[in-house]
């Protein structure tokens, strides 16, 4: 009996410890839950606002990711736009100018009639028939390049078409290889 009592006395603190342990666990969950409530309520409006901002298209929850993706897209799009700006508008201008001058596209060249003359313009190269009605007329050829460097090919051709339609005698100036000429035929010397 004494042994039992001794054992009972020994068991009591152990049981109390276990009960205290469970109370602590329960208290921790309850207390932590009650603290998380307001925090969650504080975050919720921010997320709603964030989602509202992204309603326009992107539905990405992490603003950091949005920033990175958006930056990349902008960079990629900017690169794409840059390429489009340089090539497609140049082709569109060439088509517009071909229509304005009445030039017709033949493969990679444009045929332009000015009076009896017929020019065939391709990139940096132009040929001329002085009289398209004369079957014995010789074909003359020369090269050209714009004084302004770096222009897209289509815009170089467009420039030549506009200038030849306005002043067909420019062909002789170009063939003489005596420098650059303005559209009106005046020599141009770039300022140093």
């Amino acid at each position: 009996m004494a042994h039992f009592l001794q054992r009972g006395i020994c068991m009591e603190p152990a049981i109390l410890s276990v009960i205290a342990f469970f109370v602590l666990i329960v208290w921790r969950f309850v207390f932590a839950g009650s603290r998380r409530g307001p925090l969650a309520r504080a975050i919720a409006p921010q997320q709603q606002r964030h989602n509202h901002l992204l309603e326009g298209g992107l539905h990405i929850s992490d603003p950091g990711s949005v920033a990175v993706i958006a930056d990349n897209q902008l960079e990629n799009n900017a690169g794409g736009l840059h390429r489009l700006d340089r090539k497609d508008p140049a082709k569109r201008y060439l088509q517009r100018i071909a229509a304005l001058t009445g030039a017709t596209q033949m493969s990679n060249s444009y045929v332009l009639d000015v009076g009896k003359m017929r020019f065939r313009v391709r990139h940096r190269h132009v040929s001329r028939l002085r009289d398209v009605t004369d079957p014995g007329c010789a074909l003359e050829e020369t090269c050209f390049y714009p004084a302004y460097k770096g222009m897209p090919k289509a815009e170089e051709i467009a420039t030549a078409l506009l200038q030849l339609m306005s002043n067909p005698a420019l062909f002789d100036r170009w063939a003489a290889q005596s420098g650059a000429f303005k559209a009106d035929g005046q020599a141009f010397r770039p300022a140093q």
Binding site: C143, Y145, A147, T159, L162, L170, W174, A183, P190
Partner: protein, 72 residues
């Protein structure tokens, strides 16, 4: 609708000047064109007709400055 003075360039088509043709000082527009021609040799063409212009008027909505060409 605004009128534009533009040119071909290595960076794509570049608008040099944009103005309201109804209210703009056309003398000022032509002065700027003349200055650009002195620097680059480019001369104005009407993009509606394809004709070279001596002077830009309120009639033109799109003017292309066309750069000189050399033979070679």
């Amino acid at each position: 609708m605004n009128a534009k003075i533009l040119t071909f360039s290595s960076h794509g088509d570049r608008t040099l000047l944009e103005y309201d043709p109804e209210t703009a000082d056309m003398e000022e527009v032509n002065r700027m064109i003349a200055e650009y021609e002195v620097k680059t040799g480019a001369q104005p063409f009407d993009m509606a007709t394809g004709e070279r212009l001596e002077k830009v008027t309120r009639e033109q909505n799109e003017v292309l400055m066309v750069h000189p060409i050399a033979g070679g």
